[in-house]
Symmetry: C2
Subunit: 276 residues, 2 copies
């Protein structure tokens, strides 16, 4: 196969299989070429991926050595995406009765969901995550997006047990906003004991739901390595019960009378800028 054709095939392979460690002989045989040629192909792809800001190829040498695509998106791209999201959310037509914000259109767009996932995955890339956990319903697409970049499975916590999932572990917790006692359920089969977990959700106010998830995950001896929420609401009346989390945006004021919404970047940007 010619270099030009190999580059297209290899680029497709890496994008479809992020974080999959592959040995060079696999490519040599599949692409009918030499190890030296594959090696040069990988250099070209690595250069372009870095230039495009979508990550890099990580190569290991020696016996069992190979290559994997690490999807770490660069800060400039992430910052532009978050600022764009803030502008979209500030549109006053989003204001719903009760001071809530309509976000289903953004969460319903697969491309936006994929970008949100890529931002979180870049942030959690080096945390050795085994599984992404979310709670039904709105966090689900975000969780899959993050998990696809981290190459780990998704586990969904439910509010009610389902007969199609077998025996479950459940906990009760007090919801932050409604002060009601709620239930969370996780099928026993779904999570291996002692897993490194990343929690993903769409929205956090006081953090009651996430605290509930943390408590439920303790029953599985899981380590919560990272918490990512798309939007956090800044509510001065309520104290936040969750401390270490990453938010992409912060909704600080929904003024029903003036039809005004204040949306700012969340702590993701400030944190990642420090580290850059």
């Amino acid at each position: 196969m010619k270099r030009s054709n190999r580059l297209v095939a290899l680029t497709n392979f890496f994008l479809e299989n992020p974080r999959q460690h592959t040995q060079l002989p696999y490519f040599v045989s599949n692409l009918e070429t030499t190890k030296a040629s594959v090696s040069e192909d990988l250099d070209i792809i690595d250069t372009v991926f870095q230039k495009e800001g979508i990550g890099y190829l990580q190569r290991t040498t020696g016996a069992g050595g190979g290559v994997q695509y690490i999807p770490e998106f660069n800060n400039g791209r992430n910052k532009a995406f978050i600022n764009d999201l803030c502008r979209k959310l500030e549109d006053p037509v989003r204001i719903l009765p009760g001071g809530y914000l309509y976000m289903s259109d953004l969460l319903g767009d697969p491309k936006t969901v994929r970008e949100i996932g890529s931002v979180f995955a870049s942030s959690f890339s080096k945390m050795d995550i085994d599984v992404v956990v979310t709670v039904a319903t709105k966090g689900i697409p975000l969780a899959y997006s993050v998990a696809s970049f981290l190459r780990v499975p998704v586990v969904i916590v439910r509010r009610d047990p389902k007969v199609t999932e077998g025996s479950s572990v459940s906990i009760n917790y007090v919801s932050g906003s409604s002060r009601k006692i709620q239930t969370m359920v996780l099928p026993k089969r779904s999570l291996t004991e002692g897993s490194n977990v990343c929690i993903i959700d769409d929205f956090m106010k006081a953090g009651g739901t996430i605290t509930g998830m943390i408590n439920l995950l303790e029953e599985f001896n899981a380590q919560v390595k990272a918490i990512g929420v798309l939007a956090e609401a800044d509510d001065e009346e309520e104290e936040r019960v969750v401390e270490n989390y990453t938010s992409l945006i912060k909704i600080s004021n929904v003024d029903l009378k003036e039809k005004n919404i204040d949306v700012h970047p969340g702590n993701f940007l400030t944190n990642s800028m420090d580290g850059n």
Copy 2:
């Protein structure tokens, strides 16, 4: 930019933006090259995409002409994937009390979910779908996967209204298996009147849930163009109320005593083979 670098950048662009129509001057300017060179690049990418069985580049000429990547995966690849899924589901450790099958591990794997979506999207590629509709919870990841290939949004039907989604339309329907009256809700804002809809769900028995969705969608004057279910259960006692649907697999017998499960390819394979 050199051809080799351009090919990597362009391949990434097309895979990230399926069905997005882009005019050639965009590439000419972004890649700092000539129209003739871009045109040759597109020929190479089209050839490799077709060889890999992941679709093709569709080009239109004249004013406003351009190119888009149509992700239609070939039947050989789809068939191999479905047969592999059948083998995985036949494992007797999946049998749960009540004759249900544990499938959460497969539905929790982002790569499997992406492949399921690519199969449906290949099948529905020419149907002019405007939106993918699913019902919470398990169909959600599948719906996003299909939608990402079709480049359309996802709308999620819920069992209960949420205050964060504004005013809603709801219907009651009789569940096929439990014979109970259930509710389905769709926020008014979420679906444009008269949309061409594709319904996606993970599992269908008699089809009560999908009939409920069809009834709810009638309230929005939607046209149901396609129905895709991952697994259908063959139940001789119950008559199926939904007729035109595409299933990837068919579970025909779960024998609790003998610990035996019969899983076969669904009607997707027989239908697509006819058309090939």
